[in-house]
Structures are given as structure tokens and as C-alpha cells.
């Protein structure tokens, strides 16, 4: 058994080295497939990072009535934080709001003058709410309309939330983000499918060349496993070599993108590549080996029946 295994592995290596151009072509095509998979992994990271940046820019501010005590605002903040949809609530006091307003309009003399003439702080405090998902802002807004003692009735502390002003923009953004995610998934699926089909066909052609030899091996009494084994070993070699080539290839590519495109892409692709190198290595190595072995296994099956 061990002797058989040793012979199969040795024959696989010999066939690979003697295969010349055919072996080279198979490794090249496998490398292209694995490069596609690696590109997709990186593109997904870029897409998710961009989407997260956009998502992070969306929030809802609840403006509280002038004169609401900090304690009441804190009670509302605490009850908002208990909602499962809420990621973060930030309180801005009336004084802070005024300071920020003055800072923002420091060069707008008439506005500052009018503010000084009023004499008192016309701004109320506010709560800035960030939801975990963009789609959850609506339910947070619904909560604010509910029968909560703090927010309803004549004693309501809420002046108005700006959700309804921003609603069309938020909804549109939400549909763009989910559309982008779906498109990304579809694109991934189609690209992987095409690459797999091309690799499968290349390996099938490589085995087709050996069709007659497979028949001869069977005629001299070789078992199916003895005939199939070296082809599977070759499949593994294709996968391992293609993985190494892909990892090396993406080093300068990601370095270039990291140096020149970080601002545009939102993440440093080079850093992402190296901080996730082990995971990427495992994913493409397994994909490469599985692709090589399964393609070889399926391609040789039809010649083994006699």
C-alpha cells in the first residue's frame, strides 16, 4: 500500500516534469483562476470598507426642546441605547451646540451679532443616534413616536428628529448599498464559475492527450487507482504551484495599489493583503488543490471504464 502510494506520487511528479508545455499551461490557467479568487477577496474588502464608510456617515439627530434638563436627556439616551438596533448615542448639550454653532459661523458676522442680541442660548440639546444597519433608522424613528413617557404627550422633551427630512436619502442609500452587495456577490459567482470552467477544460485537455496511455495502462493490468493516482498528484501539483505563483504575483500588485490608491479605495490593499495573508493562502491553496484534483478526477473517469 505504502509502496503503491510512493509509486503514484513519484509517477505524478515525473508526469508533471515531462509534461512540459501542457503542465505549464495547466499551472498558468490555475494561477489565473486563483488570481481571480484573490482579486475577488480583495475587492470584497474594498467594497465592504467603502460601504462601511458611507454607512458611518448616516445618522439621525434628535433635537430636544430648549430647556430640557440633562437628566431627562440622559434618560432618553439610556432608553435608546437599550434598543437592539442602536449602535451608539451621543449627547450634545445646549452649551456645546452653541459653541459649535459659533465656531461654524465664526466668519458669518451678522449671524453671530443676532445671536449676541438674543442674549440667551436659543439652541436645545440633541442626541445623535447611529444604528447598526441603515435600514433600522425607521424603527428607531417609530420608537420616538411611540407612547414612551419621555417622548410623548404635552410633556414631550423632543422638538423633532431629523429622520423624516433625511428619509428619502437614507432609503436611497440603503438600496444602493444592498444593490452593490448583491452585484458583488453575483459578479463573484460568475467570475469564479468561468474560471473554474476554464481550468477544468484545460486539465481535461491535458488528460485527453494521455487518453491512449490510460487505455494501455489498463490493458497491462494496472488498477484504476494506479492509473488515476498520478493524474490526481499532478492536479495537486498544479494547485500548489498556482497558489505560490498567485501569492507572489499579488505582492507587487497590492504594493502598487497600497502606495497609489489607498485614498481612492478607502483601505490600504497592501496592508489588508499582508494582515490576511494566512487566510488568503488557505483559501486559494484549498481552492487550487480541490480544483486540480476534482478536474483530474472527473476528466479521467470516462477513460477508465474499459
Amino acid at each position: 500500500m505504502i509502496t503503491d502510494l510512493k509509486r503514484v506520487i513519484k509517477a505524478g511528479f515525473k508526469n508533471f516534469t515531462r509534461g512540459g508545455l501542457v503542465s505549464f499551461a495547466s499551472v498558468l490557467i490555475s494561477t489565473i483562476t486563483l488570481s481571480t479568487i484573490t482579486s475577488i477577496i480583495i475587492l470584497q474588502a474594498v467594497l465592504y470598507s467603502s460601504l462601511n464608510i458611507i454607512k458611518d456617515k448616516v445618522d439621525v439627530t434628535i433635537y430636544l426642546n430648549v430647556g430640557v434638563q440633562e437628566g431627562q436627556a440622559m434618560l432618553l439616551k439610556a432608553s435608546l441605547e437599550k434598543l437592539p438596533e442602536v449602535a451608539e448615542v451621543t449627547y450634545t448639550s445646549a452649551e456645546d451646540a452653541l459653541a459649535q454653532f459659533r465656531e461654524r459661523h465664526a466668519t458669518d458676522y451678522p449671524t453671530i451679532q443676532s445671536l449676541d442680541e438674543i442674549g440667551e442660548n436659543p439652541l436645545g440639546s440633541s442626541l445623535n443616534v447611529k444604528a447598526k444597519e441603515i435600514s433600522q433608522y425607521e424603527s428607531i424613528a417609530d420608537f420616538l413616536k411611540s407612547d414612551n413617557v419621555l417622548v410623548s404627550g404635552p410633556a414631550s422633551i423632543i422638538d423633532h428628529p431629523n429622520y423624516y427630512n433625511n428619509k428619502p436619502v437614507i432609503e436611497r442609500l440603503n438600496s444602493i448599498i444592498s444593490g452593490a452587495q448583491k452585484l458583488g456577490f453575483l459578479l463573484t459567482f460568475v467570475l469564479v464559475l468561468i474560471s473554474v470552467a476554464i481550468t477544468f477544460n484545460t486539465i481535461r485537455l491535458a488528460i485527453f492527450i494521455s487518453k491512449e496511455e490510460i487505455g494501455v495502462m489498463r490493458l497491462v493490468g494496472a488498477s484504476k487507482m494506479r492509473v488515476r493516482g498520478p493524474f490526481l498528484v499532478e492536479g495537486v501539483i498544479y494547485g500548489v504551484l498556482a497558489t505560490i505563483f498567485t501569492l507572489v504575483l499579488f505582492w507587487p500588485i497590492t504594493a502598487w495599489f497600497g502606495r497609489n490608491m489607498t485614498d481612492f479605495l478607502g483601505i490600504n490593499v497592501y496592508e489588508y493583503y499582508f494582515s490576511n495573508l494566512f487566510e488568503i493562502f488557505v483559501i486559494i491553496l484549498l481552492s487550487g488543490i480541490l480544483l486540480g484534483v476534482i478536474s483530474s478526477f472527473l476528466a479521467i473517469r470516462k477513460y477508465l471504464n474499459k
Partner: protein
């Protein structure tokens, strides 16, 4: 040893064999002669179970070869050595490796392989070609290599399907002499050919085929 019982083989639009019944006993040297398309190769393919008969049965000793499962068919093929007109050598293996492969297939150890392969290569006068690939060898050398591969596992039967079809008279004579020598050591040989000269030089039992039928068997004429 081999028994054909009323065997017919019909391809889509052509009858390759029609009601063939014959017996070959162990140790015989049988030449099967006939024009191209007479059914000689089909007959040998049926013994190897490369093809299934349309009708009838083929026995190797008491085994119906077409009822064997894959494992047992592999075991049966290990008892038969085959030589083809187009040699059918493994092109990406050297002469040594071609023979070693046949030994590996039957589970011989590395020690047996390294002691037997040089010996058989010497027997067919190819010791000096042991590390050459088939493409680097002449037709006669390739056929001698094919014979060496066929006999390495000491099979009970050698099937030589037109082994001299691609060879010049000198190489043809050599191959016939090697096959006679193998038969002299007790191995049954079935040789198919369309070359009268080959049959004359063998001088053993001759079965003549035409249009898929046996029209003459020298065994029954004696």
C-alpha cells in the same frame, strides 16, 4: 484454455464476427490470418474484454471474461501479455519504466523490478536503450520493447495483434523468433497477421478468417 462459443460481434452497421466457435489449448501457438477487416483484432479484443460480444460467450479457462467485474478483469489481464501492431508503449516513460510499470501494476517489489527489468531488456537486445523514450527508438526496437513488457510478468497467454505489421523483413523475422522462443518455454501465443511469410515461418496451427467467420482451421485438417 480459450473457448469461443458461438460468438458474434456486430457494430452499428457492420458484422465483425459471426458465430465463431473455437478452442485454443494451453501451450499452443495459433496464428490467425485474414485480410484487414476479417475480424482478427475483434477476436483478440474479446479475449481481453476490451469489447463485449453481441452474442455468445468467451471463456478463459472456466471464466466467462465478459461477466467479470472491474477488479477481476484487472486480475485476468495480468495473466495475459499483449503486443500491438502500433506498439502502444507509454510515450512519456523510458524503456525501463515501460517494463517496470507492467511489473508495478501486478504489485512486484522494487527489488524484483530492479533485478528483472535489465534481464528482460537484455533478452530482447535493448539493454543499451534502457533510458531511451519510445520516440527515440526504431520500429523494431519499440516492438521488441512491447514484447519485453508483455512477457515480464510471465503471462500464461501472449496475444500479438499484427506485431510485424509495421516492420521490415529483418525485424519481422526477429519478432517471430522471439515469439517462438516464448512459446517454446510453455506460454500460449495467439498471433494475428495478414502476412503469409510470417505464418510459414511459424509453421504451427493456422486459423483463417474471412468476413468475420472462420473459414479454415489447420488443426482440423490434420
Amino acid at each position: 484454455m480459450i473457448y469461443f462459443n458461438n460468438v458474434s460481434k456486430v457494430y452499428k452497421d457492420a458484422t465483425a464476427l459471426e458465430n465463431v466457435t473455437m478452442t485454443i489449448t494451453a501451450g499452443e501457438f495459433v496464428s490467425i490470418v485474414g485480410h484487414s477487416g476479417a475480424g482478427k483484432t475483434t477476436l483478440t479484443k474479446l479475449i481481453m474484454a476490451e469489447e463485449n460480444p453481441t452474442d455468445g460467450t468467451v471463456f478463459f479457462e472456466s471464466i466467462d471474461v465478459h461477466k467479470l467485474n472491474n477488479n477481476n478483469l484487472t486480475k485476468l489481464r495480468r495473466r495475459i501479455g499483449v503486443v500491438f501492431q502500433d506498439f502502444k508503449l507509454l510515450q512519456n516513460k523510458t524503456a525501463y519504466e515501460n517494463i517496470a510499470f507492467a511489473m508495478e501494476a501486478v504489485g512486484k517489489s522494487d527489488e524484483e523490478i530492479s533485478s528483472d527489468v535489465p534481464h528482460v531488456l537484455e533478452l530482447v537486445d535493448l539493454a543499451h536503450r534502457s533510458h531511451h523514450f519510445p520516440i527515440e527508438m526504431s520500429g523494431g526496437e519499440q516492438q521488441r520493447l512491447a514484447i519485453a513488457r508483455a512477457i515480464i510478468n510471465q503471462p500464461e497467454l501472449i496475444i500479438a495483434d499484427e506485431p510485424t505489421g509495421n516492420l521490415d523483413p529483418i525485424n519481422t523475422h526477429e519478432i517471430v523468433q522471439i515469439l517462438k522462443k516464448i512459446n517454446g518455454l510453455g506460454t500460449t501465443v495467439i498471433l494475428t497477421t495478414h502476412n503469409r511469410g510470417v505464418i510459414d515461418s511459424v509453421g504451427k496451427r493456422v486459423i483463417t478468417m474471412e468476413n468475420g467467420k472462420i473459414i479454415r482451421d489447420s488443426k482440423h485438417e490434420k
